[in-house]
């Protein structure tokens, strides 16, 4: 335990400490240190976390590659090229080719688009449903809250992936389906977090002050409650993205993902399974590597944000 309140021993106390300062020496009212807003302070602390910054930089690079990789690649994502099938990585095909001669490098970046799109969309939709539902539940309190939370509890008990699988079977495998299926069950976690935060903050003095000035509920929710719940919400979003990416890969791996010529990382890993023993390691290696790295980056970024956005850990 650190001993922050250590008292100076008597022999160290010097007389000059107790002399009055000359009058007008300093303006006692002025703020000496620059004022840091919550976000500036969080950013300052996040920047110090090397691992989290590494994750952030990786993700930015990944997004750039996902956007521009397929554009600049001379190969098509879906067009087949049988003379060049099953080639190991070379100067022409950096990540090799698959059994239809498609360039794995191009497909990997195309897969990155799909995976990131699924992850980000799932997180955004969760975010909107979650803050509305959780916000109302927490702010209204009482009976409304109990009823809304009963519903959430029941939904929380549902085995998510089973529901997602069922939905995928019914709606047919497509990108929209995956996102819908993931958000149908996914928003519950967000709603719980928002509600818990709102419940805690709504009793703080600044909210009472706002109320006594006659602020409307909608204003209090928008201006007082939501900005103060943003920390945990953002952390939850950064952790939703990798779990959505994982779920997409998982579904694709079960054969419930997006359809054949198009690629997502899960689909590529699934396609690679039968040929992995014939030595075509690159087929699994690259999609698997990028799934893992992306999950890793989001996880360390989420952890870093959790520390940076928590005012209690402020130093």
């Amino acid at each position: 335990m650190t001993n922050s309140q250590e008292v100076a021993s008597p022999q160290h106390v010097k007389d000059e400490w107790f002399r009055p300062l000359p009058k007008g020496h300093v303006n006692a009212e002025s703020v000496v240190r620059p004022s840091l807003s919550y976000w500036k302070d969080a950013w300052r602390r996040l920047r110090k976390n090397k691992l989290a910054m590494g994750g952030l930089i990786f993700l930015v690079l990944l997004m750039l590659f996902a956007i521009f990789g397929p554009i600049f690649s001379p190969y098509s994502v879906i067009a087949t090229d049988y003379p060049n099938q099953n080639q190991s990585p070379s100067a022409a095909h950096w990540f090799g080719t698959d059994e239809a001669g498609r360039d794995v490098f191009t497909r990997t970046w195309y897969g990155a688009r799909i995976s990131i799109f699924v992850g980000v969309m799932a997180a955004l939709i969760d975010f909107f449903i979650g803050i509305i539902y959780g916000g109302i539940s927490g702010y209204k309190g009482g009976r409304t809250d109990s009823i809304m939370m009963r519903i959430v509890e029941v939904l929380y008990g549902l085995p998510h992936l089973l529901v997602v699988i069922l939905l995928m079977v019914i709606m047919g495998a497509s990108l929209t389906t995956i996102i819908v299926a993931l958000t149908v069950t996914g928003w519950v976690g967000m709603a719980r977090i928002v509600r818990g935060q709102v419940l805690q903050i709504k009793n703080y003095e600044f909210v009472t002050a706002s109320k006594s000035f006659g602020a409307k509920s909608s204003r209090i929710i928008r201006k007082n409650l939501l900005p103060n719940t943003m920390g945990p919400i953002i952390v939850q979003m950064t952790l939703t993205v990798p779990s959505a990416i994982f779920a997409e890969a998982f579904l694709s791996f079960l054969g419930l993902g997006i359809a054949a010529p198009f690629a997502s990382w899960g689909v590529m890993a699934n396609d690679a399974l039968p040929v992995i023993l014939s030595g075509h390691w690159w087929r699994l290696f690259f999609p698997a590597l990028f799934i893992s790295l992306t999950m890793f980056a989001f996880n360390v970024l989420g952890d870093g944000l959790q520390d940076a956005l928590d005012p209690k850990l402020r130093r």
Binding site: M1, G141, G142, D145, S146, M149, R150, E153, V154, G157, L158, P159, H160, L161, L162, V163, I165, L166, L167, V169, I170, R195, G196, L199, Q200, P242, F246, A249, F250, F253, L254, G255, L256, A269, A272, L273, I276, L277, W281, L284, A288, I291, S292, L293, M295, F296, N299, V300
Partner: protein, 311 residues
Amino acid sequence: MGKYIVKRFIMMIATILIIASLTFVLMHLIPGSPFDGERTTNPTIQANLEKFYKLDQPLHIQYLSYLKSIVTFDFGPSIKKPNESVNELLARGFPISFELGMATILVALLSGIILGTIASLRHNGLVDYFAMTFAVVGISVPNFVLATLLIQQLAVKWDLLPAATWSSPLHMILPIIALATGPTAIIARLTRSSMLEVLTQDYIKMARAKGLSPARIIVRHALRNALMPVVTILGTMLAGILTGTFVIERIFAIPGMGKYFVESINNRDYPVIMGTTVFYSAFLVFMLFIVDIAYGLLDPRIKLHRKEGDA
């Protein structure tokens, strides 16, 4: 406590009912019938088939008989494998999946707690560093990737362990490792962070001051409190492991429930899909119920019948 258990029990039944109804509605929204095949069936045969599977009756009657089948635990015959009932499939597949799941959770709990505890005791030391690297990597690598790597390296390249099926304890090692790594990593991280918090508390200092042995302090005083968060996530973790078995069973060719489930999805075998979903959901919801009760029993500070609203 009694009141709480009753309340949780009612919630559990409600959840199962909702899942069952949802499954029913969803299954009947699927376009196409299970008898749509490549060759056209004789209309008389089709009518007879539909009669046999009660597909000719109005929906509400079907729904009622479906609910009855759940209560009596008789999910009827499979459509694609007419000689087998869903019950038979469950009886054959589930014990294997259950074995895999339980072994996984035991391995994950044991190794995760040990790893996390050691890491917390050597805070910022080499062991801590290693354990946390393992934890982050373990969370990041999907289990199907890990499974494929294990087969390729340990089973095929070095020929150390058998790569597929579920016939002897030796066969179980690779699937269990593949499935348990993720949960182990999560448990290790959780144990470590909550141990670090607990170890700074006054009652641990007190126990030290009393002169208790370090082992006793860690096991009796610190771990008991530090493991509460682990108990909390056990329920959701179980759900993850359960769905994880689908993938792992597919990769390792294990004849468990996951194999039948994936098959039934691709075949549109309604009774099997419904039966499996409801059975698995009920099983999971029941486990969550158990975990909740266990949580109340383990932590004396938590009064489970406390009024709602105090987050």
